[in-house]
Symmetry: D2
Subunit: 338 residues, 4 copies
Amino acid sequence: MIITFKKDAPKEELEQLRSALEEKGIKIADASSDTVGLYGLIGDTSVIDKEKILAYSWVTDVTRITVPYKKASRQFHPEDTVIQVGDIKIGGNHPIVMIAGPCSVESEEQIMEIARGVKKAGAKMLRGGAYKPRTSPYVFQGLQSKGIKLLVEARNETNLPIVSEIMSSDQLDEFVENVDILQVGARNMQNFDLLKKLGRINKPILLKRGLSNTIEEWLMSAEYIMSEGNPNVILCERGIRTFEPLTRNTLDLAVVSIVKKLTHLPVIIDPSHATGHWELVETAALASIVAGCDGLIVEVHNNPECALSDGQQSLKIKKFEELMKKAEKLAAFTGRNM
Amino acid sequence: MIITFKKDAPKEELEQLRSALEEKGIKIADASSDTVGLYGLIGDTSVIDKEKILAYSWVTDVTRITVPYKKASRQFHPEDTVIQVGDIKIGGNHPIVMIAGPCSVESEEQIMEIARGVKKAGAKMLRGGAYKPRTSPYVFQGLQSKGIKLLVEARNETNLPIVSEIMSSDQLDEFVENVDILQVGARNMQNFDLLKKLGRINKPILLKRGLSNTIEEWLMSAEYIMSEGNPNVILCERGIRTFEPLTRNTLDLAVVSIVKKLTHLPVIIDPSHATGHWELVETAALASIVAGCDGLIVEVHNNPECALSDGQQSLKIKKFEELMKKAEKLAAFTGRNM
Amino acid sequence: MIITFKKDAPKEELEQLRSALEEKGIKIADASSDTVGLYGLIGDTSVIDKEKILAYSWVTDVTRITVPYKKASRQFHPEDTVIQVGDIKIGGNHPIVMIAGPCSVESEEQIMEIARGVKKAGAKMLRGGAYKPRTSPYVFQGLQSKGIKLLVEARNETNLPIVSEIMSSDQLDEFVENVDILQVGARNMQNFDLLKKLGRINKPILLKRGLSNTIEEWLMSAEYIMSEGNPNVILCERGIRTFEPLTRNTLDLAVVSIVKKLTHLPVIIDPSHATGHWELVETAALASIVAGCDGLIVEVHNNPECALSDGQQSLKIKKFEELMKKAEKLAAFTGRNM
Amino acid sequence: MIITFKKDAPKEELEQLRSALEEKGIKIADASSDTVGLYGLIGDTSVIDKEKILAYSWVTDVTRITVPYKKASRQFHPEDTVIQVGDIKIGGNHPIVMIAGPCSVESEEQIMEIARGVKKAGAKMLRGGAYKPRTSPYVFQGLQSKGIKLLVEARNETNLPIVSEIMSSDQLDEFVENVDILQVGARNMQNFDLLKKLGRINKPILLKRGLSNTIEEWLMSAEYIMSEGNPNVILCERGIRTFEPLTRNTLDLAVVSIVKKLTHLPVIIDPSHATGHWELVETAALASIVAGCDGLIVEVHNNPECALSDGQQSLKIKKFEELMKKAEKLAAFTGRNM
C-alpha cells in the first residue's frame, strides 16, 4: 500500500498515522521527495481500511499494491479450488459443466419436460428459479416453496443436481435441505448480511457479479462468504450494465482470465442474462468456452413464448441440443471436454 | 403499451397473444402497415409483463407509454405525499429537512458530541449507521445493537428523530421499536424480499437509489414497498456510478425534477456519498436546494481523521455549521425555508 | 416510427405536424385511445428528424421501428459486402483476415523486422500508426510522413497491404496515394467532416467504434461515409468504456452477431485495444473467431518494452506466432479458415 | 510518479529503465520491500509516458502523483485565467456570462429575432451553430458559411459577440475572421489535429467535454491547445453519458469545483445538452450558478417546435427571460453577479 501526502502535513497527525500503522505490524518505507510525501507500507495491509487513511485532509492518495482479499486470492492458495456436487466437479481441469433449465419453475409438467430434455442433451445440472427477483411487484414472483419441491422431484427422476437462487436468509433451511448449489443473484451481490450467513453453511454458493460491480468488489463479496468459513464459492459472470441499448447487458469475457489469475475459484458464465436475446446465447456460450470458463449456466424452456419470465432469452430444447453438440466439440478441441 | 411485430407472425400465436391481452381487459388498436405490425394497447398495462410478450420470436419491440408503477405514480395521486416524524414534515411545501450525523456510531462520546453539534447548528434529524455495509469483511462492521442503543440515547437527549440503515429483515423488530426512519442502502435497493417486509410496517422508509439503477427501477422498488401497504417512502439520490475516477459517484441532480413530476413522493439528496469528498459536499448540498429537494442527509463527524468509516466525506461540526447558515439563507431565498 | 402524444395537444400544432409528415410521403395510422395519442408512421422514415418531432411539448415519445440508416442496412442490401484489397477479400465467407503490426512505426529497422515477422507467422496485412492520437501532447506523436514512407517500404518488401490511421483531412492525398486501408480511430468516429471526405474516395475505410458510442451511432457514422458514395466500410470493434478499472476497455463481442444482422458490412475485432494487456489478447482474439468476426487487427512489436506507444498491449513476434497457429486451427474448426 | 514492480524483475531491464528515467532528469527513491518493488520518481514527470513503463512485463503498476498537464495546471499558474472578448470578461471573479441562442442558425429572421430577444433579456453573447455535427447524414447539417454570415449580421446589430462550433480545420480562416469564440464540440474533444491547429491562433476556444471523457482527458485536450501557444481556453461541461435513459446526459456538476482546483481556466456549463429537455434547463442552470460556474451557454429559440435541430431542449424567449431574472437574483445572492 502506498500513501502519498502533502509535505505540509501537521507533524502530530502524521505521527499519529505512523503509530497506528506500526501498531498493526506495518513497516513504513519513506520515499518522500522535497515536494511530495510518499510512504510505502510493508506487511499485511488487508486489515487496513483505506478510507480511514484518506480521511486525513493532507493525504492525497492511497493505492493498494496487494489485493484486499486473502482467502479468495491465488497468492496464498495457488492450486485451483474444485467444487464437488455428487460426481460432478467444477473447476481445475475438470470438464466444463453445463447447467441448464428454465428461468422459473412454473409447473410439474414444465420442469419435468425441461429436466428430461436438458439431461438428454448433455446438461450436468438443472437450474430453475423458485423465488424470483422481479423488477415489478405485479408480475410472477415464482412458485416459491412449491417450486423447490418440484425441483427436488425433477432431481429425483433425472439425478441432475439442482441450482436455485436464494433471496433471503429466511429461506436458508429450505435451501440447505433441498438445493445443491445456492445462487446469489446479481442484485444481492452486496447483500452482506446474506453473504455472511451463506458463509456459515457448507453448500456451494454460485455468486453472480452485480450489474455494475468491479471485479474487486465481486471478489470481496466472495471473501465475505469465505471469511465466515465456507470455501465453496463459484463465481458467475452474467454481463454488466453499459450504455448500449441493443443488448440487455454486455458480457465481460475478460473476467475469466483475470479472475483465474487473481483467485483459485471456479468461474462460470451465464450467456442468457449476459445478452438477453436467445439468438445471441449460442455465440456467447461458445466464446466463453474458448475464454476458459469452468461452466455455463443457460436458460432453456420447453415453450419460451409462454414462459412466465425471461422467455426472450431462453433457448428451446431443440436449440439447446444443437448448442450442446457444438459446445462439446469445441471443448474437446480446446482440450478441456464437457 | 405498443407492440411492434413482423408481418409474417404465425396466425395462431398472434391470436394467442391477442386473447391473453384481452382476457386482462386490454383493448387493442391495430395500426399495422403493409410491412410492419403495430398494436396499441389500451387499458391498465401495469399488470402486463413486457418480457413475456418479447418472448415471441416475431415480436420486434414492446414500448411502454404509461409507467409500470401505480401507487408511486403522480397520475393517480396528484397531491404531494408528506411524511411526518414527530413534528417534522418531509415533502410538499414544508421546510427542507436537514438530517446529519456520522457515517457510523462509534461510541457514546462520539454520537453525543455530534448529535449536540448538529442539533445546535440546525439539523432536524440525526443519522448514524449501526449495521454497516462495508465492501471488506475485515474492516469495522458497525456497533450493531449497541449502536442502535446509543442512537436512542442521543435522541433521548437531543429530541432529534433518528435515521439508520437496516441491512436484513432479522433486524426488523429492533428497527421498528427504536428507529424513526429506516434507511434502505443503495446496495439493497433491489433486495426485493427486504422491500416487501418493509412494506408491511408503517414506519417511513428512506430508499436510496442503487449505484447504477435507472430512475424507473428505483420507483419500482418504491412500488414494492407501497404495494404491500406502506405508503411512507422517501426517495434518496446518492450519486450514480460512472467512468469518472475523481469523484466516488456522480450526483444526478436532474432526478429531483423528474421524480417530482413522475411521483408524489418526497426526494432528498445525500451530497456526502454523491461526491465522496468533504470539500465537494457544501456545493452539492446548496445546488440540491436550488434543484428543489425536500431534504438533505449529510455526514458529519467530530473527528473525521479518526472516523471508523467514510471520514473522507464527513464534514467537521464547524464546517457543518457554516453549511447550515448558507443553506438556510439559500432556502429562504428560494422561498422554501429549512 | 411511432409518435405518442397527449390528448390535449393543440389542434393546429397537431395538424401542422400531420401535414409536415404527409408532405414527406408518410402515411399516418391513428391508434389513439381515449387517454393517449398514438400515430404509426408508414413510409420511408429515415429522412425524418426525430428531434424535430420531440420539440412539440405535447409529444411524449418518438420511437423508431425501422433503422435510420439505409445504405448500411441489410434490409436493402441482403448480400454481404466483400472488401477487396489486392488478392485479399474481407467479409462474406472469405477467410478471416489477420492484420498485425506495431502500434506506431518507430524506425526502418523496427517496422521491417515486425513486417517480416508477422508475414512469416501468417498475417495478411500490416498495421502501423504514422499519425498517432495520443492523450498527451508531450509524448511521441508518430513519425508522420516518414512513418507512411516506412510502411510503403515494408509493403514493397513483404507485399503486405498496409492499414494506417488518418487523423485529419489534410492527410487525405498522402493516404489515398500510399495506404491500402484508411483507419478512422475511435476518437474520430463522430468527426463528421472527416467521414464525409472519406466518403468521396474509393479506398476501404476501417471505422472503429467510439469509446462510448452505441451500435446505432456507429452505423450512422458508416452511413455518413456511404451516403457520400464510398461503399467500402469495414467496422471495427475495439472495446467500450465501462466502470471496470482492471481492463482498458470492455470487449463487446455481441456486436459481431448484431452488426451482421443489421448490416451487410464486414466486422473485425481489435483485441489489443479491447483489453489493453498483452496477456488478455490471445483469448479475446480466439473468442472473436468463434463469435464470427471477418478479421482481427492485433498489435505486435519486436520489443514491446521499448515501444514508443502501447507496449503493454503488444504481443512479441514469438507470441503472435503462437496465436496465429491457434487461430488458424480454430478458424478451420469453425469452417471459416484464415 | 510511483512504479511498483515484481521483485524478480530482470536486472538488466530494471537497470535500463532506471537509466532511461535518470536521463530525463528524474531521481529515484527506492522504497522496495522484500516482496514488492517500489520506486518513487522525483522530478518533472509530465514528459514521461506511463504506457512505456507499463510495457515491461514485470511492472505491476504506474501511478501519477502529479498531474500530467502543465500549462493548464493551477500549480504553475495560481491566478485565474480571465478571457476577454470585447468588454466581456470570463473567469476570475468577473460576472457570470450568459451565452444564449439557437442550436442552429436557420434564417435571417430567426437569428435576428432570437438575438434581439436574448440581448433584451440580458445575455452577453450569442451562440448559434452554422456547421452542425448531426448523428444522421440525412438531417439538416447547418447553413454553413451562410450561417456564419447571418451570425455576423446579428452581431452587427446587437453588438453581442458570437460563439459557434468549428468542425474542421478547413473552416479555420472563416472562423478566425468572423467568430469571437470558437467552440470545439464534445465529439471533437479528442480530435487532436484540430486542437493543435486551434493552439496556433489567439482566439478563445470553448472546449466541450466529451461524452464519456474523464476530467483528466479533458484537461489534456486543453493542454494540447495551450502547448501550441494559445492560452485562451474556456472549459465547458455539457453532461456525460450514463445508463439513465430519461435524460439525454447526466450533468456532472462536481466538475466546477474540481476543475477550478486543478486548473486556472474558466468553466462554463451547458444545461441544455446536459439535460436534453427544456423543462430541466432552468433548474440545471441555477444549480450551476450555485456550483460556481463562470458562465452558462443556453439554447433559446423563437419557435422550438419548428427548430431544425434540438428543439426539445430549447427555451422559448419568454422562458429565457424568466430564467435570466432568476439567475441574476441568484448570482447577486451568491455575491458574483451576472
